[in-house]
């Protein structure tokens, strides 16, 4: 029923899961000649999702997913090393994926080394060392371990002449706010950098990052994507295909959004119709079961064949039966002839004859003859019965009424036997009569009911419906009681304990009293015994089944005769009914609907997973959200500085692209600030690549050289130290 609705009114919302395309072979590495001996810096934005690299004089960086895979190709058994999208080429490669980042922390330096190798190979470097200064990003207040090992790689493995670290968010801010024509950078602003596994808020005054006031929220698109996947798994616990992180990421990017006003949105989504209208349906690939369709003719032929076979079998059986019967008759004839010939021979001869036929004595012969006779009689009767059901003739019991005195010993025995048979026969007849009577009564009852119904359909239906209601109530109460009993503290459970205690106490008293006056009246009333049923929680009540049968009967009658009583009114459908809200939240498809059952309906989730940026607590992360963190940070500045900061709130990083992000931030911040303080929120021109672009812009200024650490300095101060400048971290820095 639902699936039909769906196809009609929700078809535009259905989106198919994209099938990943095979990676294409990238163009060969650049020729190095253009940059040979130029000292043009190499700029590397080492993001936890995307690795971007290039010479500072290029328009845009090259980039790829920051992951590598080292594995052996199964067919050729050759070791291979793949970077970025190339990993998708084979499942064997995918299984061996390694990333340099573990969540928010740079940790896997083998993977980083492989990624850097790829970048340098890709840039065409063919010199014995990397002869260019490098400007590279690091995480806001990065753990020094990460920095130390990166510096070690850069200076010792690649022998770069100079190295400088910067924070990606600040460089994106720089790239978007720097005025062309001057190297001076004095802008103010509040940079919100949406990273993969965290979100950083950094105040910037006079072009310098005030990192002492910066904060990091441990929530990013990675967490949102994981949260979405978890919600999907909870909503569809038996989904036929595995939903991958790549797919949940795709759903997050394409269908989820930040709500501009979450509580208002939730209020409107309470309406099942609106909830339904808000949904996006994700259609996963499915294979239709190809049922073998048989034509009418084929079906008819098969039926005919089957019938033919049946007939043949029947014929065969009849034939064997006839043969057997014939054989028996022959045998009987033979034995009868044998018996008749008894008188003709002498005793000895007779005995020899008997033993030759396989009999011990006369009685055995008689028995066998009797058996054969009765068998034949039965078989003949059966054969006759095949034609029609002849009434069984009443057997006669001639000896039953004969007084015992008139009978000899055999007669008495025979009389006893006849008596027994007679009793059995009479009992059967009684039962048959009883049955007939019942049937008649039932018919009478039905007729009466029918008359009643015909006379007053309304009244009849009311009566039956009332009965149905009573039964349903009883069933409901029973299940409620069962549920109540499972809770030790519920009134029902307490009452049960009380009755058990009472029964136990009664027993003790009654034992004493029983010796004297028998005053125990328990059981005098049959209802007394009900107490045992009441305290027994496990035994299924037989009433329950009876009620259900009765209910079914009533419902069948109502369904048959009351046109206003439909299948929806039956107990089964009432109990199976889901509220409109739940149906809208997760529409149910019929069992065999393969297409429908490989669908995921996203509705509230679309905003729920993004809401976590503003309140990570809803997903179990105990941290203030973006709005609260900004408020905290602003509170540490003077009003004048505050005004300078909020005049230019700058968003960078892929999640800033959610269309609701800017209006939501505005809605969150506006009430927190004085009315006359203008709030302006802008998004980076290219939230994904602008950090690199800002870096390349900066790396060609004269200032860049001053921010670098040389190899000599590295050897003198150690791998953790850096120079402090406006775009760098503050930890382990010196002026």
């Amino acid at each position: 029923m639902h699936s039909d609705d769906m196809q009609v009114d929700a078809a535009p919302n259905v989106v198919r899961v994209p099938i990943p395309a095979l990676p294409s072979v990238p163009p060969p590495p650049d020729l190095y000649d253009k940059h040979r001996g130029t000292n043009i810096p190499i700029v590397i934005d080492n993001g936890s999702t995307t690795f971007r690299w290039g010479f500072a004089d290029s328009e845009a960086p090259r980039f790829g997913p920051n992951a590598i895979s080292k594995y052996k190709e199964r067919k050729t058994n050759r070791p291979l090393l793949l970077f970025g999208e190339a990993i998708d080429v084979e499942s064997g490669a995918k299984a061996q994926t390694r990333t340099a980042w573990e969540g928010d922390i740079l940790l896997n330096f083998d993977a980083l080394e492989n990624a850097l190798d790829y970048a340098f190979v890709n840039l065409g470097l063919d010199t014995p060392t990397v002869e260019h200064p490098v400007l590279m990003t690091e995480r806001l207040s990065t753990p020094l371990h990460s920095r130390a090992l990166t510096s070690e790689l850069m200076f010792e493995q690649y022998s770069v002449p100079a190295l400088s670290y910067c924070i990606d968010g600040l460089m994106s801010f720089y790239g978007n706010n720097k005025k062309p024509g001057t190297d001076n950078f004095e802008e103010d602003g509040l940079c919100i950098s949406f990273n993969t596994a965290s979100t950083a808020v950094m105040p910037i005054l006079n072009g310098k990052g005030i990192l002492s006031h910066a904060k990091r929220i441990p929530w990013g698109s990675l967490q949102s994507s994981e949260y979405l996947l978890k919600l999907i798994q909870l909503k569809y616990p038996n989904f036929p295909t595995r939903v991958t992180t790549t797919q949940s990421n795709w759903m997050l990017r394409n269908f989820c959004d930040v709500s501009t006003n979450y509580s208002m949105l939730l209020k409107s989504l309470k309406d099942p119709l609106k909830l339904r209208a808000s949904e996006t349906i994700i259609q996963f690939p499915f294979a239709l079961q190809v049922a073998e369709e048989k034509t009418e003719e084929e079906l008819a032929r098969i039926a005919e064949k089957r019938k033919e076979q049946g007939r043949k079998l029947q014929e065969l059986a009849a034939k064997t039966r006839m043969e057997k019967l014939l054989q028996k008759e022959n045998d009987l004839q033979h034995l009868l002839e044998l018996r008749e010939s008894r008188g003709e021979d002498g005793k000895r001869e007779w005995n020899n004859k008997l033993s030759a036929e396989g009999f011990d004595d006369d009685s055995q012969l008689d028995d066998t003859i009797k058996k054969l006779e009765s068998g034949l009689k039965k078989a003949r009767k059966k054969e006759a019965a095949d034609g029609g059901d002849d009434p069984i003739e009443e057997p006669s019991f001639p000896l039953v009424d004969v007084p015992d005195v008139d009978l000899d010993e055999d007669g008495l025995k025979e009389k006893k036997k006849q008596k027994l048979i007679k009793a059995g026969y009479e009992a059967r007849a009684r039962a048959r009569r009883e049955k007939e009577r019942e049937k008649e009564e039932k018919e009478r009852e039905e007729k009466r009911e029918e008359e009643e119904r015909e006379a007053d359909l309304g009244g009849w239906s009311r009566k039956l419906r009332q009965e149905q209601e009573v039964l349903m109530d009883r069933i409901k109460n029973r299940s409620r009681r069962k549920a109540a009993l499972s809770d030790r503290k519920s009134a029902a459970a307490q009452a049960r304990m009380k009755s058990i205690a009472n029964l136990a106490a009664d027993d003790r008293i009654s034992k004493k009293k029983r010796k004297g006056a028998g005053e125990d009246m328990f059981g005098a009333d049959d209802a007394d015994w009900a107490i045992y049923r009441k305290i027994n929680t496990t035994a299924a009540s037989s009433d329950e089944e009876e009620d259900l049968i009765q209910l079914q009967l009533i419902e069948q009658k109502l369904l048959a005769h009351d046109p206003t009583f439909t299948a929806q009114h039956t107990h089964a459908s009432i109990t199976a009914q889901r509220s409109a809200l739940l149906t809208a939240f997760k529409p149910v498809y019929e069992e065999g609907d393969v297409e429908g059952n490989t669908r995921i309906h996203l509705n509230t989730e679309k905003w729920r997973v993004c809401e976590a940026w503003f309140s990570p607590g809803i997903a179990g992360v105990d941290s203030a959200g973006v709005g609260e963190v900004i408020q905290n940070i602003l509170s540490r500045f003077s009003d004048a500085e505050k005004a300078r900061l909020v005049k230019n709130i700058f968003l960078t990083g892929s999640p800033s692209q959610f269309s609701g992000m800017i209006p939501r931030l505005h809605n969150t911040l506006r009430p927190l600030l004085p009315q006359d303080m203008p709030v302006n929120i802008v998004r980076a021109a290219d939230p994904s690549l602008d950090a690199w672009k800002g870096m390349s812009l900066f790396s060609v200024t004269s200032e860049f050289e001053k921010t670098c650490f040389t190899k000599a300095e590295y050897e003198e101060y150690g791998p953790e130290k850096i120079r402090k400048w406006w775009g760098s971290n503050w930890n382990s820095s010196y002026l």
């Binding site: 990676p23 090393l81 922390i105 470097l125 909870l234 309140s615 105990d622 941290s623």
Partner: protein, 153 residues
């Protein structure tokens, strides 16, 4: 709908009939690309590289504490600004102090009620019916999505 694996089989056949062309994976691999820029005498410190997330973070905290001690000893008169030296641990956003809004664990809608038996929040009685019918482990899964992990006794 075309039968499943037809295209795939074809591709595999192509691969085997023309063994001279290396597979796409081989073409994409850069394992054997020349890397002259690497220092052949550099030996990586395997132990240092093998550190895990937890050790790195605890090391970081330890280092921060030591640094504070050192500065205190060097300049006992100058009070130490707490954020003068932001570290990975110190810039972490504080817990939220705003009152936590309650959302339905099943539907995500506003949740005015909480089921005392499971601790799940729910939107209305129809969702309550769902919760009533839930197994204990399912209820736990729903709770853990909200970060509530019950302690196993």
């Amino acid at each position: 709908m075309p039968p499943k694996g037809v295209g795939r089989r074809k591709a595999a056949n192509d691969g085997s009939s023309t063994p001279n062309i290396p597979s796409l994976a081989v073409q994409l691999s850069y394992l054997h690309s020349p890397k002259p820029f690497k220092n052949p005498y550099y030996t990586k410190n395997v132990n240092r590289r093998a550190k895990n997330f937890k050790t790195v973070l605890s090391q970081e905290r330890e280092r921060e504490r030591a640094e504070r001690e050192r500065r205190k000893l060097a300049q006992p008169d100058v009070p130490l600004e707490p954020d003068e030296m932001p570290t990975y641990a110190s810039i972490e956003a504080p817990p939220s102090v705003l009152p936590m809004k309650h959302y339905c664990d099943v539907t995500g809608l506003e949740a005015p009620y909480t089921d005392p038996a499971t601790g799940l929040r729910f939107h209305d009685k129809s969702v309550y019916q769902v919760i009533k019918g839930m197994s204990v482990s399912t209820a736990k899964d729903y709770l853990s999505a909200r970060g509530v992990n019950s302690i196993v006794k």
